[in-house]
Symmetry: C2
Subunit: 659 residues, 2 copies
């Protein structure tokens, strides 16, 4: 019975197969025996590359090399076209675009558009920019992402996280919108660079707990920044604690109408959000009537477009009040620049007051924001893609390239930094989007509203916008994650809490850097101090020995510790007890580790104590041999180990009998 | 036949046993069978803590807890005395000091003294300090280390590495000796702090290749700094390239006598160093004559004390020349302050020119030197201790504390930073030192020379001192390490070369930091991108399945990559092929990894594809259960795996037959 084994190694970034080997186990006698068959499976699942049966290898060498060359030709042939299709995904899906998709994409695009317009205006407010900048950010990125995006559910545009990071970056020295646009350009370039250099793995270093801590702190800061609009008081922006201190100082200035409107809006928004869970939406009716169906659709639409409904209703009321009363009882957002933005180079030079900043000065002013904004934008975009991609792998490199180009081109139309937004991603997904073409409709809707609606933006009450933001970010505070972390790995709460507190009380960008640092320390400490299991055991011929099992690979930070523990065990047991190092988990070593092992071997041979490496990978034996240790005893099976031990006990027996 | 297994986990820093468990396997039937016995050994060497036989556990629980409480009492009883003996080692060895040790320690102490005096003067020159500072640094540390040192072979005093680092730290802004003394104090405090906080593991992050790169670059820089004295030309210190550029510019100013003296000295020193390898020293004469024995001793002494011999001979010649000719043909070191240093607080305030520096300003000026000097001093000291300790474990914490106190107290007598010196360590070892008491003799010898010899130091020719240094550091350039690195792990050459080049051409302290950073990137990349082995296999009942084996633990940077690879494999194989994840090497997971695995499980259950975790540790199953995945199929043995697979193939067969 022939068994065929395919062995491949993957390079995620390129998704290309690097190696392919096949071999057969043809011995029928072997296959008949259960135990042996299991052993074969075990063997073949261990290291056939390194197993010693060269006979099989030679037999298959010809097959192998012919397969290899065929594969090479094939890869070369498809590579160019495949790469082009991968990097410009529209080329792949547009020719297969079907009529049925149009309706789906249109509905999804328009719904996302209705969500993005009020959000964009509100996020511009969060970022501390004139409101039109929100809309400027919401169309170009959609068009670009349609061409380059690899995930249909990701709607690119302004987001809460990007907005608050922009605010924090600009706040330091009260910089103007020019800096926000330059930040967009620079973060686009950084994303693009990360995509080209395949640095996507950097994002993996932002762990779950750190990300939770950051998001929670960011949403609290965003909500805090909106409190002044809800209360109708005037506060110059500042740090989290300062803002709350000022709020309590000025609490007597609270404007009752603004507060009432704000709270009512928040409550209505939260209720509408909940509307999707109404019995009529979820009840398991096998054949719903037409009315039920339409009602469901209506509720879904109202719930999804709740932000724009609230904003429009509030604006209309204020407009009417202004017409009939002459003034509005609540604070309005005020004049907004009308019309489409010009298409021009991002501002590489800017004047604030009587100071002129050149490009390098501007980038210096933006500081760490230039790195933190693109990193977190990418993190958000890719995690949305993962959520909605039904477990299919995400092409992180393509997402980085796409988001990079989105930001760079958006910065030509005075956009603030854009990324994928989670809430709009959910809208997109539930609207049944089929391709990224939905973005075209979203972008067009935003363009229309920019052309015709900007004069009316001034009637939007500030409290309503604040309500839209607060109702959105309140679900980003992820205190519910504490419980599963506690259940799984309590120590992971440390980076989460450190990140949260540093983000809240120090600075948002700094907090996440500190959190990542703390988390990396954990990782490095673990690799520096592996756990070693030490056990006594007795071989079949009555030889007592000590088994020491390191739980991971030997690397430079850990080898001296491992050497010290093994040496200590060795001296403690006395020189007659052989030490067996179970090297099953030692999958890689480096030069420092090899040197350390050499020293260890020499310590033992000086003492005359046997030291056996059990289950050491042949490739690692090679590395150990590279530093030329005086001797290196290895055993690759229990039987071989027993033979080794027998040899030693024989020697020691002889030594004893000689005296 | 009973088997008793002791299981311990070690904490190196404290060398205390954390856990102790015992259990018996009493089944005689099992023990009779070879295969089963091996299986038992294997089982017991895997995870008895997590094996499910609770019966054994209960049986042993009483024994266990009584042992535990006994252990606790015992530990508490001995802890105080033991800790005191560990932290002040002299208390442990002085009562056991024997008469025979005196001769050994005296010879070793005096020989080290004869080596340290010329070296100290030369290293003061390397550090750019007045020569007496070298001697100031060479006695107090010896006394302190006698009391606190845990390794008899380590002679503490000024070293080439510490000296060049001091020079680089002070050079930036041409700071005076006050800063060097403060640097001693501050690095002492840092060492002490590292000892108290048990941060010894930080040193392990300086890998072999980085250390080689640094040492090689440092010795080249040191040799370069001495070239001007060999040539007798005047160059204001600077960077490596600048110095060589200036040397070539001023090559015509070379003073022939200085150059001749320097070169002759270097050649004589190298020859004397080689003298130890003379046939008479190594020839295997069974009964050497008395003359042979004395000759050997003489050659050994001359070879060991070669530095002081050269310096004294040169100084005497120059002194004579000055008396008889009125002036010396070579440049002399000039006036040196005579007498012992005062015992006073280190200079917490300093005036350079018309500027006054306070403590904080001074520390700011010293900058990264405050961290790099103690780290590298500790690294050197501990690596010497390891070299000469015959494989016995080093108490790194005690060494940090001892070196910390040495530096702090030395700073009261105007010392420059001190650490263990490799060359003097070798002298100490080959002189047959028995305890750290040898340091007392070394210290006394230095004190005597300070009291009586300083007036004569001015006659030492600069070229002779430079020769002493060059002849010493030339062996620190470790180009011979390139070959073994190439043989073992070629990629490890990258951190070595990066460190070497950065140290040489950027700055010494910065170079090692960059090198460590590059090396850590390798480590992090490896943990972010584990290698996954993918193989097809067939179960006993003919069910084809895919085995995927990650080679290391799942941690936050790697889990998304692992998930992507497994998902991709799953979709590629089709939903009918079960995926088995061989989790043998997954020894630890964190929260992010658990979440990733949960998502992975959900991806597979959505697709309806079976996913089995094979050989997963029970503690990790617990962690995975903490995030509440929809289902988690595990198998702990080949047989169980086969049952699992059979179940699936039965289901799929039924599904097929139903249609």
């Amino acid at each position: 019975m022939a068994k065929y084994t395919v062995k491949e190694e993957y390079d995620l970034e390129n998704y290309k197969e690097v190696r392919l080997t096949g071999f057969n186990n043809n011995d029928p006698d072997l296959s008949n025996n259960l135990e042996t068959r299991l052993a074969i499976i075990h063997l073949s699942s261990k290291d056939e590359k390194e197993s010693k049966d060269d006979v099989n290898r030679t037999n298959n060498f010809i097959l192998l090399s012919s397969m290899k060359s065929w594969l090479c030709r094939r890869i070369k042939k498809t590579c160019k076209k495949k790469l082009l299709y991968k990097r410009i995904p529209i080329l792949a899906w547009l020719p297969q675009y079907r009529k049925e998709f149009i309706a789906n994409d249109l509905v999804a695009g328009v719904t996302v558009g209705l969500t993005v317009i009020p959000q964009a205006i509100a996020y511009a407010n969060v970022a501390g920019l004139p409101l039109q900048y929100g809309l400027y950010s919401s169309f170009m990125a959609c068009f670009v992402y349609t061409i380059l995006g690899s995930c249909k559910d990701v709607p690119v545009g302004p987001t809460a996280i990007a907005a608050i990071l922009t605010r924090e970056t600009l706040q330091k020295s009260h910089l103007g919108p020019d800096f926000a646009v330059l930040l967009t350009f620079v973060s686009g370039c950084i994303s693009l660079l990360m995509g080209i250099l395949q640095l996507g793995f950097l994002l993996d270093f932002i762990s779950g707990p750190v990300s939770v801590g950051f998001t929670s702190a960011a949403s609290i800061i965003i909500a805090t920044s909106q409190m002044k609009d809800i209360l109708g008081i005037n506060i110059s922006g500042g740090k989290f604690l300062e803002v709350w201190q000022m709020i309590f100082e000025k609490i007597s200035d609270t404007r009752p109408w603004d507060t009432t409107l704000g709270i009512v809006c928040i409550i209505v928004l939260l209720l509408l959000r909940k509307a999707k869970d109404l019995p009529i939406m979820t009840r398991n009716v096998k054949m719903p009537t037409k009315i039920q169906l339409s009602l469901r659709k209506l509720i879904w639409l109202v719930s999804t477009a709740r932000n724009i409904l609230i904003v429009v209703i509030c604006a209309v009321i204020c407009w009417l009040l202004e017409i009939y009363l002459g003034s509005s009882p609540v604070i309005l957002t005020g004049e907004v620049k009308a019309g489409l933005p010009n298409f021009h180079l991002p501002p590489f030079q800017s004047s604030t007051g009587n100071e002129t900043y050149h490009f390098s000065d501007m980038v210096t002013e933006l500081g760490s924001g230039c790195l933190v904004v693109p990193l977190l934008s990418l993190l958000e975009t890719i995690s949305i893609a993962k959520v909605f991609n039904d477990g299919n792998p995400i092409d992180a490199t393509q997402e980085m390239l796409a988001l990079g180009v989105c930001n760079v081109i958006s910065s030509f139309v005075s956009s603030m930094p854009v990324s994928g937004g989670l809430s709009r991603g959910a809208v997109n997904h539930s609207s049944g989007v089929r391709t990224t073409f939905g973005g075209i409709y979203t972008g067009l809707l935003v363009l229309v509203s920019l052309q015709f609606l900007t004069p009316y933006l001034r009637y939007i009450p500030k409290a309503a916008l604040a309500a839209v933001i607060i109702a959105a970010v309140v679900f980003m505070v992820e205190f519910h994650v504490i419980k599963p972390i506690w259940r799984t790995k309590k120590i992971d709460l440390v980076p989460a809490i450190v990140t949260f507190l540093c983000c809240l009380f120090v600075r948002l960008e700094l907090g996440i850097v500190i959190g990542i640092g703390v988390n990396l320390l954990f990782l490095l400490y673990a690799s520096a101090r592996p756990s070693l299991r030490v056990q006594k055991a007795t071989s079949i011929n009555g030889c007592e020995y000590l088994v020491i099992t390191p739980d991971r690979s030997l690397v430079f930070p850990s080898v001296e510790y491992v050497r010290a523990v093994i040496s200590k065990q060795g001296t403690k047991q006395g020189v007659t007890v052989p030490i067996v190092i179970d090297s099953t988990h030692i999958q890689a070593v480096d030069f420092t580790a090899a040197k350390g092992v050499k020293n260890l071997i020499e310590d033992f041979s000086k003492r005359g104590q046997p030291l056996i490496f059990h289950n050491l990978k042949p490739s690692i034996i090679e590395i150990f041999r590279g530093v030329k240790p005086s001797s290196l005893k290895c055993s690759s099976s229990e039987l071989e180990l027993n033979d080794c031990l027998k040899e030693y006990s024989d020697i020691s027996m002889t030594t004893i009998s000689r005296y």
